[in-house]
Symmetry: C2
Subunit: 313 residues, 2 copies
């Protein structure tokens, strides 16, 4: 018999990505967060044998001798993580994910949520971690919205736009907005003035948004970080916000082209990203429903865990 | 009286960029290259006081006691180079460049060719080095082409598309294709399999070209380097060519959109770049007239030097 079938009153949700580890102790009945921990011990910081030890060190005092289950989502389930979980082919429901949860080797009652993939002649794409947030956003939507289907924008290193209808994810697209921002800012000449952190500059960000739509496209607009810094008054402290505007503007422009039917976006992200993405999405005429990414993660994993705990064993 | 007015029979042309130094000893009457030298001593490798010493070490034995003039083009004329030369506002002719050549401090009869810039509300752009190649391509064109005007594509770290008509450059657009390729290949997750050099793979390059046109745009297409490597048979050794196809495909797509009137492109580049760009431009239905970049540099600088040497002093 699975330990998960003990119907614990609490649940531990871990979002474990490339750069970060975030753990939440959740009261199942109320959904309240009883405690949480964060660190920079993402995949990049750990070698494979360290995963179970690190997980235990961060969760043991919450686990009531192992009775409280731990569910892990994110890149922790990739080949370079703790142990590889499958990526399920779309369409996928939250129940499908629950049915394919895998046990993490080395610790009892610790489970890795699968990722998803989409492989067609025209589109090849992969996701690990954002799928639980997308299903969380769906669970948090009002019944009418849920019935009509939702389009989630999940900004980040690899931004995801996911379509959910009738309880299933049916399509998604990854755009490497965040990772390109980092690569341009730290590894190109136009990014040089933005090497140091500077506060968000809304005017420079909006200028970047508009440049992403201009002749020459995103690869010219990025270069304008340099030419405008030299000759059009773009200050060093504005270059980062300008580059961010160009890349987020290109993301929104491209997805508007790919999905002209979208009118409302469920924007699932941390607060700082929600601010800039809301500006960009609204500038493109889209209605934005903002959802905190932690809240979406908890709602999604909780739904998956409930199904997993109640499954026949 | 300027030493340049001695009407030397020879001329030294130096293309001095961020990463490379290339010098050519040219016979003015025939245009023949009598000798040449190349090194990796670009701007990144030198501190400001080193420029005159390095230039002297590479050219002194060609200079006939200083009588043979040296013309420098490229980033050597930027604020981080030897000495800052102006960037002239478009429209600009080769004669305009010759009239604004500046003396390089510390050595006699060594001259820096100005760059160009375009500053309008809609477009801000800068160029240093490619302008001499564009004027060289114009000089090398047959009289009918020259009269009709030419569109040059000058691929590189910062690719330039330049329009020349009636002997003047009237517009240009920079796209940071080469620098983004490097940043993605060496500083992102999708680029990881391409960290090591691999031979050009035409099939992967063509796949990349087609993905640049697909839904989601260039920022999704770049991510497909990862998803296709995981799930669609893109081998590690093909990832670099795929990424190159995506970025060059995006460059051509963007410029086709900005300039739908272009039917023929003067492609000015080194041999390896000409191969991939010819594939991309022809796949987009453009006619390509390929010109070696060294030949274009020599033709352009020679025209500027002839005007400079003959100017009233």
């Amino acid at each position: 018999m699975s330990v998960a079938a003990d119907h614990a009153e609490r649940l531990i949700v871990v979002d474990w990505g490339t750069s970060n580890f975030r753990a939440f102790l959740v009261d199942i009945a109320s959904g309240d967060i009883l405690d949480s921990r964060r660190s920079a011990s993402g995949l990049k910081a750990l070698s494979q044998p360290e995963f179970p030890h690190y997980c235990a060190s961060q969760t043991d005092d919450w686990r009531d001798g192992g009775r409280v289950p731990v569910y892990l989502a994110g890149m922790v389930g990739s080949a370079r993580g703790w142990s590889e979980a499958p990526q399920l082919e779309l369409p996928v429901s939250a129940d499908d994910l629950a049915d394919r949860v895998v046990a993490a080797p080395g610790l009892d009652n610790v489970w890795i949520v699968p990722g998803v993939k989409q492989v067609t002649a025209d589109h090849v794409d992969v996701m690990r971690g954002e799928e639980v947030q997308a299903f969380g956003a769906l669970a948090l939507a009002d019944p009418a919205t849920r019935a009509a289907g939702v389009d989630c924008c999940l900004p980040g290193t690899h931004s995801k736009w996911a379509r959910l209808e009738h309880g299933r994810m049916t399509a998604f697209t990854t755009l490497m907005t965040g990772e390109l921002y980092h690569a341009v800012r730290f590894h190109t000449l136009p990014g040089e003035p933005a090497r140091d952190e500077a506060p968000f500059d809304a005017a420079a960000f909006r200028l970047g948004l508009s440049r992403a739509e201009a002749a020459g496209g995103v690869m010219h607009a990025l270069f304008e970080a340099r030419s405008r810094h030299l000759y059009a008054g773009l200050a060093a402290g504005q270059v980062g916000s300008f580059l961010s505007g160009v890349l987020i503007g290109e993301e929104v422009r491209a997805m508007r082209g790919a999905r002209p039917d979208i009118t409302t976006v469920q924007l699932v992200g941390a607060e700082t990203l929600r601010e800039s993405y809301t500006l960009a999405l609204e500038a493109a005429g889209l209605h934005v429903n903002a959802i905190d990414s932690d809240r979406a993660t908890l709602a999604g994993v909780s739904a998956i865990a409930a199904r997993h705990a109640s499954r026949p064993t």
